[in-house]
């Protein structure tokens, strides 16, 4: 069992919902990322999802695109992200998932990246543009390295694909609750309960629901039909707002905590 699996097992035994938080690595710089990660650990974040900045983030909405741009401008590279995770691991055992576009792994060396990520203390990878159809060797290498293979399920995913995906994924299933890019929404999708039920028919894996959750009320609503919620853009937006100010870490952490409080008993 790696840290992700342990955490979800613990949440289940405690009857608690999981809280996955996404931020862009290196936004506004990697030292801030380290501090945020450590602060989040203390306010109820169960999984930290770190976006590795890419020049062409085609699955991301504007908020996360700008975060990637700030990450690139601060000199963030895949090797530096792994270095930062090593330093986080000295003080925190929060499960960490890297949200990454395939070309970055491909360029680094597929196998080498997986091995180095595991060494650095990463627990799972969510490779945005690597569907199960293209990823046979990937899953084998990930298993060997002890990393979870996080796959997405979308509202457009038909039943037979859900079955394929959940068989191939490990750790948790990430349900993208709406058609579209990442980003905040005024209203969360009303098809979440139906889709999570469909997914649950095929797997015991915990389901995390994300894309569009931006306030405590939405967090509560979504948490009712899933094992975990994922919040990204709303937090990234806070990071953008506080930027390099000295209040960055406390302000963002306060916001992160407000959502944790909404879903934790």
């Amino acid at each position: 069992m790696n840290r992700i699996e342990e955490r979800f097992a613990r949440l289940k035994s405690q009857g608690q919902k999981g809280y996955v938080v996404y931020i862009g690595a290196g936004d506004p710089n990697l030292e801030a990322t380290r501090q945020l990660a450590l602060a989040f650990d203390k306010v109820g974040v169960d999984v930290l999802e770190l976006g590795v900045p890419f020049s062409d983030p085609l699955a991301d909405g504007l908020v996360n695109q700008l975060a990637a741009q700030r990450g690139l401008e601060s000199g963030t590279t895949p090797p530096k992200v792994l270095e930062t995770i090593k330093t986080i691991r000295k003080e925190s055992q929060t499960p960490i998932v890297l949200y990454i576009y395939f070309n970055l792994l491909h360029r680094y060396g597929f196998k080498k990246f997986i091995y180095d990520a595991a060494q650095a203390g990463v627990d799972g990878l969510l490779v945005l543009d690597l569907p199960p159809e293209e990823s046979e060797n990937y899953e084998v290498m990930m298993r060997e390295a002890g990393l979870c293979v996080i796959y997405l399920v979308a509202p457009t995913t038909p039943d037979e694909r859900i079955e394929l995906i959940v068989k191939r994924g490990t750790g948790f299933v990430y349900y993208v609750s709406r058609e579209g890019v990442t980003g905040m929404q005024v209203k969360v999708s009303d098809t979440i309960a139906t889709m999570t039920a469909k997914i649950r028919a095929h797997t015991q894996l915990p389901i995390a629901v994300g894309f569009g959750i931006s306030n405590p009320e939405q967090a509560r609503t979504v948490a009712a039909s899933a094992e975990a919620i994922v919040v990204g853009s709303a937090i990234v937006n806070q990071i953008a707002q506080y930027g390099k100010s000295k209040d960055l870490v406390p302000k963002v952490t306060e916001f992160v905590k407000s959502l944790a409080d909404a879903i934790k008993k």
Partner: protein
């Protein structure tokens, strides 16, 4: 050589050897599978083919002439040069062959909204045109820099009723327009068909666009056999994503005597961020849905590109070209901005044809090669588009006086 054009590539998942495939976010996976199924149904359906042939003939203006460029041939003093006149098509470039095919497909799939990316604007104009023709809403994504340098085409798209969205991200050219179109598609997947304009992207696009464009080579092959009673010795085409080139090359792949050369954009020279010649300065990577040669830095970030021609100014090349290069079936070279501009002027002055800056890259290669070939050898160059859209930019580059 006969294995090349056989059905061994792409495989069932769109792989051309180690290239191609389908690398997209999950939201697009099932829609792409549906598109693939519908496309292959249409390909086998005589009714669909009949309808497509009808519009290609009556609306698009096919077949296009294979024109003997007599003065250019004489001036260069070598091989006999033929031009495949895709520039004479309605809307002015080969792009409409594919746009027409895909709009008929979209109609059959019940899609009510069309989106597309465009670089030089020719694919945008073609897509806006077929959308107007069938009364479908159309949104075109175009980099802000390209909107400026191809302003004429922006006006044309707007007149045709399309919404043109300038894309302000990154270097504001074709790559960013594709990103934005893909974001739109993910968001509006149920109503919208994405008419991708080149032989690039996730399966089935590379094979589908190639098949809609192969009419260029099918016609050229028939025409040269009629006119010369033999096959050509050399085919030349410019390569951005690579749809006009694959369209010309594909029907000749099994003809082992026919050499082929694809011409990429050499820009200001083969130095990082100064060109768009992926086979010169690129390496294997995955971008916008497919695995191919791309221009990237040591960390896998996509590099800036440059070309005088907006249609070739793109960081990746179609996967089938990467495969044909590995198989040593097609040779890939490049022409710089300066050489392309020289060719642009030469064709205008000698033949009375103003070529697109994209196609001028192919002509530049013809100018290099023809003099070294025998007079009884034959070249076919794909004149993929006309240069009306480029006149202002070329005049400025060449320092021509414009009347105030």
């Amino acid at each position: 050589m006969s294995a090349i054009a056989s059905s061994t590539v792409p495989d069932a998942h769109g792989h051309f050897g180690p290239y191609g495939g389908r690398y997209v976010p999950e939201t697009l996976m099932h829609p792409l599978q549906e598109l693939e199924a519908e496309y292959f149904r249409c390909q086998q359906d005589p009714e669909f083919q009949k309808e497509l042939q009808y519009y290609l003939r009556e609306f698009v203006g096919r077949p296009t002439p294979l024109y003997y460029a007599e003065r250019l041939t004489r001036e260069l003093g070598g091989a006999k040069i033929y031009l495949k006149r895709e520039d004479l098509l309605h809307t002015g470039a080969h792009k409409i062959n594919n746009a027409m095919g895909q709009i008929l497909l979209a109609k059959r799939m019940g899609k009510t909204r069309i989106i597309a990316e465009t670089g030089a604007g020719q694919h945008g104009v073609a897509t806006a045109t077929v959308s107007a023709m069938f009364g479908v809403k159309c949104v075109i994504y175009m980099g802000e820099v390209d909107c400026e340098r191809q302003m004429l085409n922006v006006f044309r798209m707007k007149m045709l009723g399309a919404e043109v969205v300038p894309v302000k991200a990154g270097q504001k050219t074709l790559k960013e327009a594709v990103n934005e179109a893909m974001r739109d598609w993910v968001t509006n997947i149920r109503s919208t068909h994405y008419i991708l304009g080149t032989a690039y992207g996730a399966h089935p696009y590379p094979v589908m666009v190639r098949n809609f464009q192969r009419i260029i080579g099918d016609e050229a092959r028939r025409q040269i056999l009629e006119q010369e009673e033999r096959l050509p010795d050399l085919l030349v085409a410019c390569v951005g994503g690579g749809s006009n080139a694959i369209g010309l090359f594909y029907p000749f792949l099994d003809d082992s005597s026919v050499k082929m050369v694809g011409v990429e954009a050499g820009g200001l020279g083969i130095k990082p961020e100064q060109h768009a010649a992926r086979f010169q300065g690129g390496s294997l990577g995955v971008l916008q849905g497919t695995r191919s040669y791309i221009l990237q830095d040591e960390n896998g970030q996509i590099q800036l590109t440059h070309s005088v021609s907006a249609g070739l100014d793109y960081a990746a090349v179609g996967p089938e070209h990467a495969w044909l290069r590995d198989e040593n079936r097609v040779e890939y070279t490049y022409a710089t901005d300066d050489k392309a501009l020289e060719a642009f002027m030469k064709l205008a002055r000698l033949e009375g044809i103003i070529p697109a800056l994209e196609s001028s890259h192919a002509i530049a290669e013809v100018i290099q090669r023809a003099p070294k070939m025998r007079k009884d050898e034959l070249i076919i160059a794909n004149l993929s588009g006309r240069g009306d859209k480029d006149v202002a930019q070329a005049a400025q580059k060449l320092g021509l006086e414009m009347p105030k």
